[in-house]
């Protein structure tokens, strides 16, 4: 009974998909012009709506056409090129290359082709849902006995289920346990009884699993030839498919967690040094800052505010080696309310920039006790050897040795980053020259002006850029050095919620009655960095999704083998009145079950690995990464997304075998051999 070509299905599919294509264009236009949604959100919403529409188009065509209707959908997709081009011609969308404002005809054709290709593929996907409920007059949503049959095909009885649960918990359990054990031995205090119990159980389950396996091998070896139970090839294939999905999901979740870890680490370091936002003025004159400060601090959800001055200078050590730097004037008393600067001190004291007379003259200041915690790794020892130890053992080499102690105590203090101290070979107490090119006017233009400072403290933020380029002095010192009178550049602010920084900045400006004040947030200041990270993460996710995709090909192969093995069973079920849709349901259920089991175990493995990496700590070369341990951040939303994608792919993989099985004629399996 070959179904006849249905023009109704073509028209239905074309109508719905053209509507969704139009909806995408319209939504993108309206949302982009009329709302404050970010460009990413606009693209996601409009293309999401279009994709949903294409799925619906396929479903409609298959449901009312009573079949997959692939020919009809192909024709509809081809016709959509024409319709889509017409729509584009009317809407005149912006070009995707920046040098032309509107898309030209070639671009429109590309867009229309893209839309029709995705309409066809998504349409087939949607149509599969139509087939699954028995497209046609009597939809059938039940799948009770199909579950039973699918279960027997996969041999998923109670014993197999328990075995799977055991394997699925033992492998991640062992990883989790290993991580906890390292911490336990190191005497970490954040371990609860639950952690310890979980670790012991996980490792016990793993050891028992190995023991069970060895026992099974021994028992098998003792059997006489021919006594061994033979497993069907499809069962072995099923296990391989599950393992494939596990590996894919595992890799995807770990890599995404590590990428999130890097992103979070970077964000934390940037915010730790730079505050959440800045209050600036459109003019150079911010001399009223002392009266503005209480107003800013009074705005709800503003946690702290501190003045700052920022200018570019040259810093040179006693031998005259120069290094470009950003010299920042800070208020050492209030800077801690905004950034982590006081916590970044590894030697000396941040307060000494205000009280330089306290900087010791005769002895080399030992690094802080917490410095070895902050600066992990071999790099730390090398750094200390080249700076602190050398200064301690050879005080005569220090630049301060040649200066009269009375002059030394009068010099203002400066804090520098670890990399700068390393590069200039300076330690706490040493003298450096700060040079600004914009000094007094001379006969040939501005003459550089320089001033000697003594190093008050050394800071370590973990960001190479900050540690090599930033130097800090007190506000009054900066004002006098740059001849600013009582002026400052702006206020740095910290908010309760980092992610609300942009809105909070606007609130603060509003509290100050707007112009001439303006605000900038940390995301504005580091846009390039974070958008690059996001793109990298997306690219990694797409590449790694291919691993899951490959794993889904093994599901496909397994199901094809199963269909061949079960031809007789399919025939007998059909002779008893099972509908095509029911046969399809059986094999879709099998594939999705394989995918779901693999995904679940893979996610557990991913979680356990992240916990292991976080607790055990994988060493990185700090010279290369500027991070001494591999960072991981477990984002459950990300895990859920991976799971959904993996199960969707598994579903796609089932379609070909399931549809093939459902189309088998009942007599195919009934002929006596």
């Amino acid at each position: 009974m070959k179904s006849r070509f249905s023009f109704g299905a073509v028209i239905a599919a074309l109508a719905v998909s053209a509507l969704s294509f139009g909806a995408q264009l319209g939504l993108r236009h309206v949302l982009g012009e009329k709302t404050l949604l970010s460009p990413d959100a606009v693209v996601a919403i409009s293309f999401g709506a279009e994709a949903a529409g294409f799925l619906l188009a396929g479903f409609v065509a298959s449901f009312f056409g009573g079949g997959l209707r692939s020919r009809e959908q192909l024709l509809a997709a081809l016709l959509l090129v024409g319709v889509g081009f017409g729509l584009l011609y009317v809407v005149k969308p912006p070009s995707f290359s920046y040098d032309r404002f509107y898309a030209d005809k070639t671009e429109m054709i590309l867009w229309a082709l893209l839309a029709s290709a995705s309409a066809f593929l998504l349409g087939l996907w949607g149509a599969s849902a139509g087939l699954l409920i028995g497209a046609g007059k009597s939809p059938d949503f039940a799948f009770a006995y199909e579950v039973g049959v699918a279960r027997t095909h996969l041999r998923l009885n109670l014993r197999a289920g328990l075995m799977l649960a055991w394997i699925g918990l033992a492998l991640p359990g062992a990883l989790f346990g290993a991580g906890i054990l390292t911490d336990w031995r190191a005497g970490a205090r954040d371990l609860t009884l639950w952690h310890k119990a979980g670790a012991v159980l996980g490792i016990a389950a793993f050891v028992l699993l190995i023991a069970y396996w060895i026992r099974a091998r021994i028992l098998q070896a003792r059997l006489l030839p021919g006594q061994a139970k033979r497993r069907p090839a499809t069962l072995v294939l099923t296990f391989i498919s599950i393992a494939g999905v596990v590996v894919g999901v595992w890799a995807l979740t770990i890599v995404l967690s590590v990428m999130s870890g890097f992103e979070g680490d970077l964000k934390q370091k940037i915010i730790g040094t730079n505050a959440h936002g800045m209050l600036l003025k459109f003019t150079d004159d911010f001399s009223e800052w002392k009266s503005v400060l209480p107003t800013v601090r009074a705005v709800p959800d503003v946690v702290g505010a501190t003045p700052f001055i920022l200018n570019e200078v040259i810093i040179a050590n006693s031998k005259g080696n120069p290094s470009g730097a950003e010299l920042k004037g800070i208020d050492s008393a209030s800077v801690g309310s905004v950034s982590d600067l006081p916590k970044q001190v590894i030697a000396g004291d941040l307060a000494w920039i205000d009280t330089p007379q306290n900087i010791p003259v005769a002895t080399a200041v030992a690094p802080n006790a917490s410095a070895s915690q902050q600066l992990q790794g071999e790099d730390y020892q090398e750094y200390l050897d080249s700076t602190f130890a050398r200064r301690r053992d050879h005080p005569e080499e220090g630049s301060a040795a040649k200066v009269d102690p009375a002059t030394l105590t009068k010099m203002p203090g400066i804090c520098v980053g670890k990399e700068m101290s390393h590069g200039l070979r300076i330690w706490v107490g040493d003298v450096i020259n700060v040079i600004t090119p914009m000094g007094e006017m001379g006969p040939t233009g501005p003459l550089p002006r320089s001033r000697a400072f003594r190093v008050a403290c050394i800071l370590y933020s973990g960001m190479y850029e900050y540690d090599s380029k930033f130097a800090y002095i007190s506000i009054p010192e900066a004002q006098s050095f740059f001849r600013m009178k009582d002026n400052i550049v702006g206020l740095e602010m910290k908010f309760r919620d980092v992610d609300q920084a942009r809105g909070m900045g606007r609130k603060v400006v509003a509290a100050l009655k707007g112009f001439p004040y303006r605000s900038k947030d940390w995301a504005d200041l580091n846009r390039n960095l974070f958008s690059a990270l996001k793109l990298e993460k997306l690219a990694m996710a797409i590449i790694l999704t291919f691993i899951v995709l490959v794993a889904c090909f093994t599901i496909l192969a397994t199901l094809i083998m199963l269909v061949l093995e079960k031809t007789k069973e399919i025939s007998i079920l059909k002779s008893m009145g099972a509908r095509d849709a029911s046969i399809m349901k059986i094999f879709v259920l099998e594939g999705v079950t394989i995918g779901a089991i693999g995904t679940l175990i893979g996610c557990l493995m991913g979680l356990a690995s992240c916990s292991f990496v976080a607790r055990f700590g994988l060493r990185l070369d700090p010279d290369v990464y500027y991070i001494s341990y591999l960072p991981v951040t477990v984002d459950l939303g990300q895990f859920a997304l991976v799971a959904v994608i993996s199960i969707c792919l598994a579903y796609l993989a089932t379609l070909y075998p399931a549809i093939t099985a459902s189309r088998l004629s009942p007599v195919d399996g009934l002929r006596e051999e």
Binding site: T152, L573, K574, S575, A581, E672
Partner: protein, 254 residues
């Protein structure tokens, strides 16, 4: 779902072939099943094998017939075509006047589920299910609630004399018991027509005799029409109506 299939569709399809079915007398009840000039051929590469060549035949409700013929003559094919498992290449198969070749996939499935029961030479039981579940399968396919389906299966297993071994899997049953379960499965929804393709072919003589006896009893007790393909001439003799398949035609041997 569930209403009896009562066809009133006139058959306009050509009654081709030399052996047209008997003209239905309006006064007689219409036959339960009727084959009109059924042709069936297969292609083996370039060679066409013409198995059924205009076979015509009809069976009244409750009537029981045996079908004999040498191996390879097309008895199974004829049964498959009569059971709507295989569409004929020409002609029509009618159930109570309704043309089965015109039904779509879901109608056919429902029709097979409610109206026809099959028994094959091999039992084709699902190996991972118990005898009870196997017998309940058609009722489960009909989407009866599990408890109701199992109750129906229990009843019909009692009927075929297997009340005691219902929780065993097919692998734990003897050949005769397996065939009884298959018979119970075919009868669980009380079909109108039972099609049995050498149901005793794989059994020893004594067991086969028992199954045959059971078939005849069930036909008398439940009034289910049946066509039984068999090689055993002695068993065929006992049927009220005897058919022979010869050169693609069905011949009444009586």
């Amino acid at each position: 779902m569930g209403e009896p299939i009562v066809g009133t569709q006139p058959i306009s399809s050509a009654l081709e072939g030399q052996a047209a079915g008997p003209v239905v007398d309006a006064l007689l009840p219409s036959p339960l099943v009727e084959a009109r000039a059924v042709h069936k051929s297969y292609w083996l590469g370039p060679k066409e094998i013409h198995v059924l060549r205009g076979a015509a035949f009809s069976l009244r409700a409750g009537e029981m017939a045996s079908l004999v013929g040498p191996s390879g003559v097309g008895k199974s094919t004829f049964l498959h075509v009569m059971g709507t498992l295989d569409p004929p290449t020409g002609g029509a198969v009618l159930f109570e006047g309704r043309d089965a070749t015109a039904m779509d996939e879901s109608e056919l499935a429902q029709f097979r589920n409610r109206t026809i029961g099959f028994v094959f030479q091999s039992h084709y039981l699902l190996p991972e299910f118990t005898a009870l579940e196997n017998a309940a399968m058609p009722a489960l396919i009909l989407r009866k609630p599990r408890e109701e389906a199992l109750a129906m299966a229990r009843e019909v297993l009692q009927l075929v004399g297997l009340g005691h071994r219902i929780e065993h899997k097919p692998g734990e049953l003897s050949g005769g018991e397996q065939q009884r379960v298959a018979l119970a499965r075919a009868l669980v929804l009380r079909p109108r027509l039972l099609l049995a393709d050498e149901p005793t072919g794989n059994l020893d003589e004594e067991t086969g005799e028992g199954i045959h006896q059971l078939l005849v009893e069930l036909n008398q007790k439940l009034g289910i029409a049946a066509i039984v393909v068999t090689h055993n001439a002695r068993l065929a003799e006992r049927m009220p109506r005897r058919l022979r398949l010869h050169e693609g035609l069905v011949i009444d041997a009586a």
